[in-house]
């Protein structure tokens, strides 16, 4: 069974999920004794192609077309590659760019789509593990089809390293007619005066704070600890803190000595931005909150009771 995995890159660098896709693809190819093909589209495909010649990769297809991601180019190129390689499983990343082309490709190729898979197995057919209800439950889905499109969640498979002996070849693809979307550029989110990636100690606040006026309590804690204040996404969405304070997949990736998560449940998108912290401490009322799975220390309790006591300890 042939597996075709599509790499992800941005602004000249292959993204981590590309190396993880190789592990996931190899896992499936091994289960069926098949080949793993990897494709990279746009950008410096010669350099990317060399880097994707990883342990376990049988073939690398490079598609030179433009510098950066454009979903019309990606969708068209993946569909053309699919026709050429005829894979049983088409693997794509559940990244922001994956979200922007994988569903269109699956629909155009009439493939069932299993998105955001965190694990899978193959025994005559694909069984994928997915999460539902904001990671509160884990589900398995069986796919009764000979061919399937799957997007994988970043960070769930190890990154593959080690050079392989893949055949690297250029694949010619030119889109038909004019593109319906044009990428005009990139911008970093507002920097502001604070760089949370520099902080040794972060006090990070989440949805558990409930009201904007309660933010003062956590600010007071940050002051008492000599820490910098950061937050999870809902606080920034609500406009209570500026975007440069946001930790997570769509915010900043931080690696402080101490990360104190206050009223943060630990959604996967948040964890992606802070799991590299040396010491993680969580204060949350829900003992089953995923943040406790990665915490080193925790208090299962009401932040409105614990935080004032903690401030007291340092004043």
């Amino acid at each position: 069974m042939t597996v075709l995995a599509i790499a992800d890159h941005r602004r000249g660098d292959l993204r981590d999920v590309s190396y993880e896709l190789v592990s996931a693809g190899r896992q499936l190819a091994d289960a069926t004794g098949g080949d793993l093909h990897v494709a990279v589209i746009s950008g410096d495909v010669d350099e990317f192609g060399e880097k994707l010649n990883l342990d376990g990769v049988d073939a690398v297809h490079t598609v030179a077309n433009g510098e950066e991601f454009n979903h019309d180019v990606y969708a068209g190129a993946v569909e053309a590659l699919y026709a050429e390689v005829e894979p049983a499983v088409l693997l794509m990343p559940n990244s922001v760019n994956g979200l922007d082309y994988a569903p269109a490709v699956a629909n155009a190729l009439d493939l069932p789509l299993v998105s955001d898979a965190v694990d899978f197995s193959y025994d005559g057919g694909l069984t994928a593990t997915r999460e539902m209800y904001g990671s509160k439950v884990e589900t398995t889905v069986d796919v009764d089809a000979e061919r399937v499109a799957v997007t994988i969640r970043g960070g769930e498979w190890p990154a593959t390293a080690g050079t392989g002996d893949a055949e690297i070849s250029a694949f010619d693809y030119e889109p038909d007619g004019e593109l319906g979307s044009r990428v005009l550029g990139f911008e970093e989110v507002a920097g502001g005066d604070v760089d949370i990636t520099d902080a040794d100690v972060l006090v990070s606040v989440g949805r558990g704070i409930e009201e904007e006026e309660n933010l003062e309590l956590v600010e007071e804690l940050a002051d008492a600890l000599g820490a910098t204040l950061s937050s999870s996404r809902p606080i920034v969405d609500a406009g209570w803190l500026p975007p440069n304070r946001q930790v997570g997949q769509s915010g900043k990736v931080v690696t402080p000595d101490i990360y104190l998560a206050v009223g943060i449940s630990g959604a996967v998108q948040h964890v992606a931005g802070m799991k590299g912290s040396d010491t993680i401490i969580a204060i949350n009322t829900d003992p089953n909150a995923p943040i406790f799975d990665i915490a080193d220390y925790g208090i299962v309790g009401d932040l409105f009771e614990v935080v004032p006591e903690l401030i007291e300890q340092f004043n």
Binding site: F69, H71, A75, V96, N97, L99, D100, P103, A104, A106, P112, L113, V114, S115, D116, T127, R130, E131, M132, Y133, V137, E138, T139, T140, V141, V143, G180, S181, R182, V183, L184, F186, E187, E188, G226, R233, V236, G239, P243, Q249, G251, D257, I258, I281, T285, D286, N288, P290, F292, D293, Y297, G298, I299, G301, D302, E305, P308, E309, L310, E312
Partner: protein, 264 residues
């Protein structure tokens, strides 16, 4: 112009819950408008308020209970609503992306909107794929994970920012008609006013079955079957401090001091 907004009633799960077979026991579920869709509704209503002659139509796939949710969209300013449902749905175990695409694409074909707004994903099944899939099916352009929208209807384009990972935004121009999947934070969704809620009672919610959409029960067929549901095993090896707030805070303070926190 006409804007079609897809909304979904999603189940929210309480902190403590029980799994019953392949679902969560009803007693632990609360139903609400999907968070991402709330932002999509707000974006559509703001466009309508800023321009003349803009109609906002909201569409949902759901049983009668979901009328409560779609009335929220009407109360916030949508002009009318469509609810897609059919007896055939009762037997469907999992409405996958392809099935939802067939249903919503049929609505798009009938309504012929200039713009379709959807949430990036639904908080329950989290496929994050329906909007872009529908765009492909109806031959519209699209953009996923949009956190800023500047519509130039006369110029026939939407200028959007897509929120990439790592605090980077992509600036993209998309031809209309288009489907845009809306990210939270793009705006500040309003609360439905009492007046809006009263007005919503008088607005139309048109029921549509498979026949009305020119489809039959095969449109619901899916090769994807839900086969298991469980609570994820906790991998926690955290040291949990025990006691009342004062005691736990004191223990945590000790750890923090050992690590040099608070030393001025």
């Amino acid at each position: 112009m006409k804007i079609l907004v897809t909304v979904k009633e999603v189940a929210e799960v309480e902190d403590d819950f029980e799994i019953d077979g392949l679902g969560i026991d009803e007693a632990y579920l609360e139903y609400d408008l999907n968070e991402w869709d709330d932002y999509a509704v707000e974006e559509a209503v703001q466009i309508a308020e800023a321009g003349d002659d803009v109609e906002v139509v909201s569409v949902t796939i759901g049983p009668e209970r979901s009328e409560e949710t779609i009335r929220m969209a009407l109360a916030k300013g949508a002009d009318r609503a469509i609810r897609v449902w059919d007896d055939a749905f009762e037997d469907v175990q999992l409405l996958d992306v392809a099935a939802k695409t067939r249903l919503l694409a049929a609505v798009v074909e009938q309504e012929q909107p200039d713009l379709v707004l959807t949430g990036v994903q639904a908080a329950d099944d989290g496929f994050g794929a329906t909007g872009v899939s529908v765009a492909d099916e109806v031959g519209f352009e699209w953009a996923a994970v949009v956190n800023e929208l500047d519509l130039d209807a006369e110029g026939g384009v939407a200028n959007v920012r897509r929120e990439l990972e790592g605090g980077v935004e992509e600036l993209t121009e998309v031809d209309l008609p288009a489907v845009l999947t809306i990210q939270t934070g793009i705006n500040d969704p309003r609360y439905a006013s009492l007046r809006g809620i009263r007005q919503a009672q008088r607005k139309e919610i048109a029921p549509m079955g498979l026949d009305d959409l020119g489809l039959d029960a095969s449109a619901l067929d899916s090769p994807i079957e839900l086969t298991g549901m469980r609570e994820p095993e906790s991998e926690s090896d955290a040291t949990l401090f025990e006691g009342d707030a004062g005691e736990t805070a004191a223990q945590l303070a000790e750890v923090l001091r050992e690590k040099g926190v608070g030393a001025q």
